[in-house]
């Protein structure tokens, strides 16, 4: 009956039978050292290196010089950086709620047990997640295109240029559609998995109380998956701020609209690989990383606070 001694939050501690203080147990390191080793090499070291780089400037005269926080001061006043930042922020505010809303609707529909062929729905809606971003963008890019795309076909049929996916005012919507297509199913699965873990007793109580339809969704299902919604929101925020693949692959098709500083990540990339400005590129990456981490943290705090209430 050692199970009784196991506190729910501390299932990690092996029950100790002796009263003396246990000796330090290094056994865990047998398991965690390989991950730690690669983690240090691919996370900690590059991060430290980026911080180091961001404090220097490669000048025409004098070579590599320590400049303190000059790069950061410059980044905070850099219109190209802020323009890209504003773009991903707009993208985040519009695309993420639409995508998560659709994912939630799909998850609720599948969880309602009122669909025919539920399993088929679940798999097919999740399927786009398995398609590589490059292929997804190529497919949509072709479909958007005015050469042999669907957009061209529809415009021809309508007799006017109604759909112009690569026009300046359209291109963010076009990218948003591709991202939504790729990730609705992924978020749907996160929500659906959480819905399945809601205790049945709650539904039984609701049935006795005579709750129906939307009442059950509002009173039981949505509060029950709040944790999953917070997690999905955080991942989507991180994804939006990192936006790179979709605009980068679309760039050849809309080169006059999608510039090298279209998103902060593309900016950091072009600074490095087109401009050789490694120090400033590292600075932009760090500023963006800090902003992302802070916003993710705030969402996490808000999410858990509401959960307590």
């Amino acid at each position: 009956m050692t199970t009784l001694a196991r506190a729910p939050e501390l299932p990690t501690v092996p029950p100790r039978t002796t009263l003396t203080k246990p000796r330090r147990d290094w056994n865990g390191w047998k398991f965690v050292w390989p991950f730690a080793l690669v983690f240090v090499l691919t996370f900690i070291t590059p991060l430290a290196y980026a911080l180091w780089l961001s404090l220097f400037q490669n000048k025409m005269v004098g070579g590599n010089q320590f400049v303190g926080l000059d790069n950061y001061v410059f980044a905070l006043q850099d219109p190209q950086f802020w323009e890209g930042f504003g773009r991903v922020l707009l993208f985040l505010v519009v695309q993420v709620p639409i995508m998560l809303g659709l994912a939630l609707l799909a998850a609720l529909a599948i969880d309602s047990a009122r669909l025919y062929a539920t399993g088929f729905y679940r798999i097919v809606i999740f399927l786009p997640y398995a398609v590589p971003a490059v292929v997804a963008v190529l497919m949509w890019g072709f479909m958007y295109g005015d050469n042999f795309g669907l957009a061209a076909g529809i415009n021809e049929w309508l007799g006017s240029e109604v759909i112009r996916p690569f026009a300046p005012s359209w291109v963010l919507i076009s990218i948003g559609n591709i991202v939504t297509w790729q990730f609705v199913g992924y978020n749907m699965v996160i929500f659906y998995s959480a819905l399945k873990t809601i205790p049945t007793d709650l539904y039984e109580a609701a049935e006795i109380d005579g709750a129906r339809g939307w009442q059950v969704i509002r009173a039981i299902k949505l509060p029950g998956i709040r944790g999953a919604i917070v997690v999905a929101t955080i991942f989507s925020i991180i994804g939006s701020f990192q936006l790179f693949n979709e605009p980068s692959v679309l760039q050849p098709l809309a080169s006059n609209v999608i510039t090298g500083s279209f998103t902060p990540n593309m900016y950091a990339y072009s600074l490095s690989f087109a401009g050789q400005q490694y120090n400033y590129s590292a600075t932009v990456a760090i500023v963006m990383g800090v902003i992302t981490a802070v916003i993710a943290y705030v969402v996490q705090l808000r999410g858990s606070r509401k959960e307590v209430r």
Binding site: P11, A106, L115, P252
Partner: protein, 308 residues
């Protein structure tokens, strides 16, 4: 949050009571709705539209691509010719890219799954010096945008002489903080400490206990992590884009994008039919793996998504 965890733990028993309840509670076993099925089918159309477009257009010749409507077939059925041309183009570079992709997936995703499993398990079942800091740093890393690290990683690797080699793709793929987190959550839920205690009393070493007992209990979690790692490495774009300049080491994603870029600019030599057929050939294996493994990831993902 703690109260929520407690209610989640007895998974098996609850599933049983739910299926019993489904029979009598109209909230759990409602009548099927044709209307809802049809409305929800909008999602199916949306998800399948580009894939249908790809399938249809992979059967067209390049002139047909340019002259016929996107969602109708062309005047000839050239799928076989297109596949043969894709595989033969540029001395069969497509097959080389496929081989590279397989190498990156096997080594990268395989290694990532192994490291995440060992690490998540170690964190869940052992108290060791430095555990708190370890956990905090790895969880913090989930929020660090991966691409923020890409440029410094590239500079670091180029100083080590690793760029333009497979190591530049494999080594960064080995670390999956989210995978470690999923295994941690799954271990807490499904590997009872008493079982490990019993094995220890029998004199089994820690690693032997893990490989003979725990790993079986963790299988659904491991498959889930493997699936996400496979998708992530198969679909990887940013990392190989910055690390590789030699087409001999390209994975499929970079190669396809390069083919597509041939259509632009001066002296353009568009091979749209090859890009489309190549895209189709790229998604077929990953979709097959996905469908094959789908019955496993269901249970594995549940653990991670509810425990934040």
């Amino acid at each position: 949050m703690t109260t929520k965890h407690r209610t989640i733990n007895p998974r098996a028993r609850r599933a049983g009571s739910r299926s019993r309840a489904r029979r009598r509670n109209p909230l759990l076993a409602p009548r099927k709705s044709l209307a809802l099925t049809i409305v929800t089918a909008t999602f199916l159309v949306y998800a399948l539209l580009p894939i249908a477009w790809l399938l249809i257009n992979a059967t067209k010749t390049q002139p047909d691509l340019l002259s016929t409507f996107g969602l109708s077939f062309g005047s000839s059925f050239a799928l076989g010719d297109n596949i043969a041309a894709t595989l033969a183009y540029d001395d069969g570079i497509f097959l080389r890219w496929l081989g590279n992709t397989l190498l990156y997936v096997l080594a990268g995703a395989g290694g990532a799954t192994l490291l995440a499993t060992l690490g998540g398990y170690g964190l869940a079942k052992y108290r060791f010096p430095g555990r708190g800091a370890y956990f905090a740093v790895v969880l913090g890393a989930i929020a660090v945008p991966g691409t923020a690290l890409a440029v410094p990683t590239f500079l670091l690797f180029s100083q080590l002489g690793l760029t333009n080699t497979p190591w530049a793709i494999i080594i960064p793929s080995l670390v999956s903080p989210f995978g470690l987190y999923l295994i941690w959550a799954y271990t807490v839920e499904s590997v009872p400490t008493e079982v490990l205690e019993a094995a220890r009393l029998d004199g089994a070493g820690e690693l032997r206990t893990f490989f003979s007992i725990s790993i079986r209990l963790l299988t659904p979690g491991i498959v889930t992590v493997a699936l996400f790692a496979i998708v992530a490495t198969w679909n990887n774009y940013f990392l190989p884009l910055i690390m590789l300049s030699d087409p001999q080491w390209y994975p499929l994603t970079i190669g396809l994008n390069q083919w597509n870029a041939q259509a632009q600019g001066v002296g353009a030599e568009p091979i749209f039919n090859l890009v489309i057929t190549g895209s189709l050939l790229t998604i077929v294996p990953i979709v097959a793996i996905f469908l094959f493994m789908q019955r496993f990831w269901q249970s594995g993902l549940g653990a991670g998504s509810v425990k934040q």
